[in-house]
Amino acid sequence: MIRELRELIASSRTANISAPNSDVQAEAKEVEEEALGRVPQLVEQAKRGDRDAFAELYRLHHARIFRMARLHLGDLGDGAEDAVAETFLRAWAALPRYRDTGAPFVAWLFGIARHVVLDELARGRRAMPRGELPERTRGWTVDDRLTLAQAMERLPAEQRRVLELKYLGGMKNGEVASALGKSKGAINAMQWRALGSLRQILEER
């Protein structure tokens, strides 16, 4: 598995990697940002028991929470989907106590999702990486994700949170900074330090 990851990284050495921002991505981001702009209002409505507002919050954040759960729990059965459902059930119960501190709502959801994932892991519901690797395909396999999740667990908590919020939560560095109470510059630096540490952990395995 690690060998596969290394190979993947090595194979891309020769590729001409351009900066990740493109017009299409920027457009998609714009649409997403517009939808996310409604989140504070939806949260207030959901706090008063508005189920439609909560349904909208679910739709807006489902993918991020799902990816986080899938990274840790794998694709077996309905593990990730169940974890998403449990996360939103707990969020619904805890919403009356939610306070808007200026941090993105998704950061609060991620806090709940992490507890759900840890509970699931404690119950032994994690899918273990298989001994034999399937044929390499583009993108992440189950084993890739689980290996990455295990490596991320070895990072200092703050670095792990930065990577989770940025790459799984889809947050910008400024939003991550707001969620963690740090400056954007500190998050920028922490992101690359975390990636450096993660690369080292993956190589050691």
Partner: protein
């Protein structure tokens, strides 16, 4: 990883620098591996996920109805407790202030505007506190007595009587019943007989009057002190 590399990686991520530029500026660093890991993690965040609507269909039937006592529109429980504590302290403070003010108002020692204000408010509540006009000015009263003592042309008993009258006028205002006998009148009467009769003539009236006076004084003296005298 040094600070310059972190900054250049930020520039690369923002699209302001190429990978070749970074590798040239930071030879020997794992720039390529870092950017590749970043790229893969970014791809991870764009992976397809299941349709959220089907998940919501399953979840919505499991969502409990919001309980009215749990859905708090106002402040949180801890904030409510804080507010309650603050209110208790405020009520206790107000009670203490009212008690103290009431005591001072009863004694009539508050400044005139405060005294009047308290008397007015208390009057609405059915309580009686004196207004500033009802409370005599004790400092000017002492000055008045002192002035009389210094300026009066009277001598002897008359002077004492004059001072006494002024001094006790404050109490007289509050005293009920008959006014006390004026000692100088008695002494004058007695002295008049005595002087008329002469010290040695002694018709007994002067002595009797003197004895009466002395006796009165003695009674007064004893009476004023009561059992302790």
């Amino acid at each position: 990883m040094n600070r310059r590399l972190e900054e250049d990686l930020e520039r690369w991520e923002a699209g302001f620098a190429s990978l070749a530029e970074l590798e040239e500026r930071h030879p020997g660093q794992d720039v390529h591996d870092l950017t590749e890991l970043h790229r893969q993690l970014t791809a991870l965040s764009r992976e397809a996920t299941p349709d959220p609507d089907s998940g919501w269909q399953r979840l919505s039937v499991r969502l409990p109805e919001p309980e009215p006592d749990i859905i708090l529109v106002g402040p949180s429980e801890s904030k409510r407790r804080q507010l309650l504590t603050r209110r208790r302290v405020a009520v206790l403070g107000l009670a203490a202030t009212l008690t103290l003010t009431g005591g001072l108002a009863t004694a009539g020692v508050l400044p005139d505007p405060a005294q009047d204000a308290v008397a007015n408010v208390a009057g609405h509540l059915g309580l009686h506190f004196p207004h500033s006009a009802d409370v005599p000015d004790q400092t000017s009263h002492g000055k008045e007595v002192s002035n009389v003592a210094r300026s009066t042309s009277e001598e002897g008993c008359e002077k004492g009587q004059a001072i006494s009258e002024v001094a006790s006028s404050f109490a007289q205002n509050h005293r009920n019943g008959d006014p006390e006998p004026i000692p100088c009148d008695k002494a004058q009467a007695a002295g008049g007989h005595s002087s008329e009769g002469g010290p040695g003539s002694g018709n007994g009236v002067g002595q009797a009057a003197g004895a009466t006076h002395a006796s009165d004084s003695g009674l007064e003296h004893r009476g004023s002190h009561g059992p302790l005298g």
